[in-house]
């Protein structure tokens, strides 16, 4: 069974169509990387999967659960799909350990002791065992994002969604977050990654799609798409992201 299946999914914000009859299937253990210009619907696609946005038409199945079905408990879907946000969104009034323990305690109803033990385990995994008692404002951006990944993993999802997880980070802090993502990929986690990190896409991604204007324009292996883009639009996009310095500030 596929992990995620979009069948003719449409999503509108008011009159603007953000996803247009989108069809996409993500298999178990796939590392799907999504690239595309801003406003192309990448983030919306992710947010539809865990029900942060409701789809307007079509069917969307996540691990067999129909997200749009009113009888589906959306919390069930969310327990299957962990999400990591661009702005980390750690709870500022909780320590790193409490942040990670939050999901298991509140959503899985795990005891406090067990949840904190699990949190310690996951903080070791993301390399932050020594920061467990720090509050978010005492952590660097990279550290915060690694705590956020641990927090998402704590409810034991079978799928991880990364919404530009490194875009808000200074270049020297991106590496530590990408390393954790790479580790998850090696462990066989199914991942959907919206990113501008072409190096990560090429090395870790098992499949790459290029989105524009609510549609999937290209779909294939990362190496194939990045080395031999078949559409002009993707070629243009890659030229902009790989060498931004050469992009003129004003259209000539």
């Amino acid at each position: 069974m596929s992990m995620v299946e979009f069948r003719d999914v449409t999503k509108n914000f008011g009159r603007i169509s953000v996803l247009k009859n989108l069809n996409l299937t993500v298999e178990e253990r796939e590392i799907l990387v999504i690239i595309g210009p801003s406003g192309s619907g990448k983030s919306t696609l992710l947010r539809c999967i865990n029900g942060l946005e409701e789809i307007n038409a079509g069917h969307l199945l996540v691990d067999g659960l129909d997200v749009a079905d009113p009888n589906t408990d959306i919390s069930e879907v969310r327990l299957e799909a962990g999400m990591v946000f661009q702005q980390f969104n750690l709870f500022p009034h909780m320590s790193a350990r409490e942040n990670v323990a939050y999901g298991p305690r509140m959503a899985r109803r795990v005891s406090r002791t067990a949840a904190l033990a699990l949190a310690d385990e996951l903080l070791v995994k993301v390399g932050l065992a020594d920061r467990a008692d720090h509050y978010p404002d005492q952590l660097s951006g990279g550290q915060q994002q690694r705590v956020a990944i641990a927090r998402a993993l704590a409810v034991k999802p079978c799928l991880m969604l990364f919404d530009e997880a490194t875009s808000a980070l200074d270049p020297e802090l991106k590496g530590e977050v990408l390393a954790v993502m790479r580790l998850l990929a090696e462990e066989g986690m199914t991942m959907i990654v919206v990113t501008h990190e072409m190096g990560f896409a090429r090395e870790v991604g098992s499949r790459l799609i290029f989105m524009e204007d609510g549609r999937v324009v290209e779909d294939g292996s990362p190496a194939q798409l990045l080395d031999n883009p078949s559409s002009d639009r993707l070629r243009e996009f890659l030229r902009h992201v790989t060498s931004p310095a050469q992009t003129p500030l004003m259209p000539s």
Binding site: N50, L52, S75, E76, R78, L79, A81, G82, M83, F85, Q87, N89, L90, F91, P92, H93, Y102, G103, M106, A107, R108, Y135, D137, A148, R151, A152, A154, V155
Partner: protein
């Protein structure tokens, strides 16, 4: 002699009794007001339209009319409408609670709306129900932010108890006035009354500062 300290000593037991009643009415009024304020504040940000409308109407009614009218309505008009008897102290506590509740509701609403939506989404994305996210994420953050203005409202409500003089509740201001009507020592008594209010509001302000400092600001 213009200022006779002995007048104060003689009046002090009575004034202290009045101050004690002021404290009692303020405490119960603010407990009630806080409960009303939180309920009406949360109701304003929910998507349940009838609840929202009730909260908006309540706040508009209370903010749009003078406290003194509200107090007199509760004590003199309400018993006629409902054919019940209300003792002055209950009416006083209700009046302060209903009045403070409307202002606190606005503080609660503002603080809840100030919490970053991303944090709420992060909670929801973990499979936590919206109500639990409200209680465990939005509320604790909002509460820390509303503390300074909440303290302000508490002090205002304490001083507002002075208008209860109109329904004959023997709080501090009323006691002062009663003493003056028998001894005509306005300078000593009003000075003492003012200082007593100052001590009470000062203690309240210190207490609120202490609570604020004990919480991490976020």
């Amino acid at each position: 002699m213009l200022f006779d300290i002995d007048v104060i000593w003689t009046a002090l037991p009575d004034l202290l009794r009045g101050a004690w009643l002021t404290i009692i009415i303020t405490v119960f009024g603010l407990v009630g007001g806080s409960i009303l304020g939180v309920v009406a504040g949360v109701a304003q940000v929910t998507k349940i339209i009838p609840l929202k409308l009730i909260a908006i109407a309540y706040i508009a009614l209370i903010r749009g009319t003078p406290l003194i009218v509200q107090i007199m309505f509760i004590y003199f008009a309400l018993p006629l409408i409902l054919t019940i008897r209300i003792d002055p102290i209950s009416a006083a506590v209700c009046g302060i609670a209903i009045n403070a509740g409307a202002y606190i509701a606005e503080l609660v609403r503002g603080a809840l709306l100030s919490v970053n939506k991303g944090l709420i989404e992060a909670g929801l994305a973990l499979g936590v129900t919206p109500f639990r996210v409200l209680v465990t994420v939005t509320w604790p953050i909002a509460f820390r932010r509303m503390l300074p203005s909440l303290g302000n409202q508490f002090i205002i409500s304490l001083k507002d108890t002075a208008v209860l003089i109109v329904i004959g509740v023997g709080e501090l201001t009323r006691r002062g006035q009663e003493i003056i009507s028998s001894n005509f020592r306005a300078v000593e008594i009003w000075s003492s009354v003012a200082i007593m209010y100052l001590i009470m509001t000062g203690c309240l302000a210190l207490l609120l500062r202490f609570v604020e400092r004990r919480m991490r600001t976020v």
